[in-house]
Amino acid sequence: MHMADALVSPAVGGTLWAASAALTFYSARAVRRQAREALIPLMGVMGAFVFAAQMINVAIPGTGSSGHLGGGLMLAILLGPQAAFLVMASILAVQALFFADGGLLALGCNIFNLGFFGAFVAYPLVYRPVAGDGASAKRCSLAALLASIVALQLGALGVVIETVASGITELRFSTFALLMQPIHLAVGVIEGLATAAVIAFVRRARPEVLLVVPWPVSRGSNRLLFGGLLAATLLVGGVLSWFASSHPDGLEWSIFKLTGGEELALPDDSLHQQLASLQERSAVLPDYSFQSAEAEAEADEAQAWPAVSAGTTVSGMVGGALTLCLACAIGFILRWQGSSRRAAG
Amino acid sequence: MNASALEVSDLRFAYPDGTLALREVSFRVSPGEAVGIVGANGAGKSTLLLHLNGCLAPQRGSIHIAGEQLDSASLKSVRRRVGLVFQDPDDQLFMPSVEEDVAFGPLQAGLPMEEVERRVVGALQEVGLLHCRTRPPYRLSAGEKRAAALASVLALSPSVLVMDEPSTHLDPRARRRLIELLGALAQTRLIATHDLELVVEVCSRVLVLSEGRIVADGPTRSVLNDEPLMLAHGLERPHILQHHHPHRD
């Protein structure tokens, strides 16, 4: 599931962009170090393969539902985690640009949710240990299934945390998580079965394909680098959140709570959130009312509102409508001019 | 020896699984000559072609291009002189637009921009594709794809052109254009194909490959007219030679 631009606050979007960018630089370095020049066309064509495979549906026996390959795990098995991460990042970028899946600001979130967890968590920590040396078909299938479930659960949790931390929707953590996690358990099972089926075929047809995975590459220095990048990400997140909290009205960075992500996991946190959203709403009022009405509004919202709405709201609506008309009109004029110039020339 | 554009001597190659793809293959090609390479599926045609510009390294025997032996030291210069046109143009047209694809080789060779531009225009003109310059490869017809793949190789101004199945998937008109184009080129040409009519029209000489060996090497008409030889190696005598064409002889 893709995070959407419209649901992401700049702080959350920015932090995850930083995290994904750091992972991208790390992965690009690692891939360059492998010095397999054949890897570049291979990565590209495999990315195209995942894209194509995502359009082919598999029926899940006995349920009447269908699904498809996720791709991240498959790529990690074939290319190794770093190359797989880069390919997933490109796939998501193409989807964001061409199909408007997600969007550019949420791209960082999506790369993290769908790339990082599959390539750097589910693959090395679940798939590899369970699959072992790949000699047993059953273990490979089980590994694919488990790793897909883990990747999808973590990815869904990522979506939930990022959405709630962005604070653009009213969904509470517990509600949203209860909605997302079971759905993605089902999706994870389907993806796992699909991946296992493909791996089973490849094992029979051309087993050597599954064995070429350069991992890990010179562990020590990479770990250091990895740690450094992680620290940098946290720093960026921290700076952004500080910026958010110190400029509450200027840029209204919404409720940035990424650093307090664990707190959000507690279900009894909802009161705190309600308070936060109330507080936030009052902070937003300047956008909608005359500056003088702000104090009134904070003092007594219910009473202050009619006074506020009379002036600003109407002018806002009229102005909004006028702006839209104007924008469209300018658009038409420019286009008309352009085409008449073209016709004349 | 220096008179030959290409000389292959005693070439042998076995795939990792033990399949012997080429055994004791030897032949010479003179500059400007057009040579057809025919043979049944799996006869070793593609393997031979991949050797000619170093995509595969000979396990035994040697390859000389205009007198220079192909080895890791000469690989770069040989690749610039031997242009390989792949069977599936989609494998070869890997860049986002026709012009970028044609420019790929010259850019890799480090030529200056004006020279790259000159080569791109020249090569596209030669194959009649200048109007498709900015098109992406998937917006080309099968015939245009072939022509673009050929242009991408011509842009390197190779002295030897090696082509793998240039006429597959072409409709009759596109195939006719290709034949005219191939016939008009000045380069030394090696064309591996099942299209025996094309060989008759373009090549003066033909090699018959069977199970990794050259079983016949001679003038196109006399070799392809040898019905027992053709049938013995999974081929047949082309129709074009079975009846008299007054304006072709």
């Binding site: 291979l42 490109s90 089973a200 | 992406p136």
Partner: protein, 268 residues
């Protein structure tokens, strides 16, 4: 079938990107920078903002108009991409029932306003991304990214990914069609699926190998050199500065409210 029409759309975007206009000719870096700035500005508005966001629509609309890319395919994409954002946003009116606006006899809760806000944000951000790709195209975008210090490995393989999307998906859909003709179902059974997608995978691996050979055959030595005629000149500088100042003005002042009150004053 949705999947196939998606490819058609990809082609439409590509055609749009190969048109020629002042916007198309700009250095891709300028468009990337402005798009990013635009997104950040849109994001920075609070979730109850409505009217102040509307002036930002000028950006995608003016670019579409100047570049003359067709509007309809872009609009269709907007509609298709909408469900997830709107679905999640649709909870807002349910949970946030605090009255926020009174208009005549109507009371509008904060939830409805933030829901509408999500809708506007969605239109703005998605259309900005679509306009970027429709006026730039994948390969120029990649060239721009490379010059903006995005790792070369990523950019190079992204070009290959884009190039072979069409080829591999064409192969895939032919295989699926062949399987469906025999099986008669729209989704494949797990076993058939494994074989079919596995075959597609092996074919793709072989293709990657052949592509690599084709690259080597033309002198590839590890780094992709490309034609790139763009340069960051005064046009680009003007484009970036102009839009950034417009965004700044629209961020600081609510232009729509100003316009509205001016119009009302003028009207009576």
């Amino acid at each position: 079938m949705r999947a196939e029409s998606r490819w058609l759309e990809l082609g439409q975007m590509d055609d749009a990107a190969r048109m020629d206009s002042a916007v198309h000719r700009l250095d891709p870096r300028a468009k990337i920078l402005v798009t990013l700035a635009f997104l950040v500005v849109v994001m920075s508005f609070s979730r109850y903002t409505l009217s102040a966001l509307t002036p930002l629509l000028f950006y995608p609309l003016v670019l579409i108009a100047l570049s003359r890319v067709p509007l309809l395919p872009l609009a269709r994409k907007l509609v298709w991409a909408a469900p997830f954002a709107l679905l999640v946003g649709a909870f807002n009116p349910l949970f946030d029932r605090e009255p926020m606006l009174h208009l005549g006899g109507w009371t509008i809760s904060g939830g409805w306003i933030s829901f509408a806000n999500i809708g506007i944000r969605f239109i703005l951000t998605v259309s900005a991304a679509l306009v970027l790709i429709a006026t730039t195209g994948m390969h120029r975008l990649c060239a721009g990214m490379e010059r903006l210090a995005v790792p070369r490995v990523l950019v190079a393989q992204m070009l290959f990914l884009y190039r072979y999307l069409f080829v591999v998906s064409g192969e895939g859909s032919r295989m699926v069609r062949a399987a469906q003709l025999r099986a008669g179902a729209s989704a494949l059974s797990l076993r058939v699926y494994g074989t079919l997608v596995g075959m597609l995978l092996l074919r793709s691996l072989d293709r990657a190998e052949r592509v690599h050979q084709a690259m080597l055959a033309r002198g590839f030595e590890g780094s992709l050199r490309r034609l790139d005629a763009h340069s960051f000149g005064w046009r680009e500088a003007a484009f970036v500065l102009g839009w950034l100042s417009f965004f700044a003005v629209a961020r600081v002042w609510n232009l729509a409210t100003l316009l509205g009150s001016a119009a009302m004053r003028a009207g009576g």
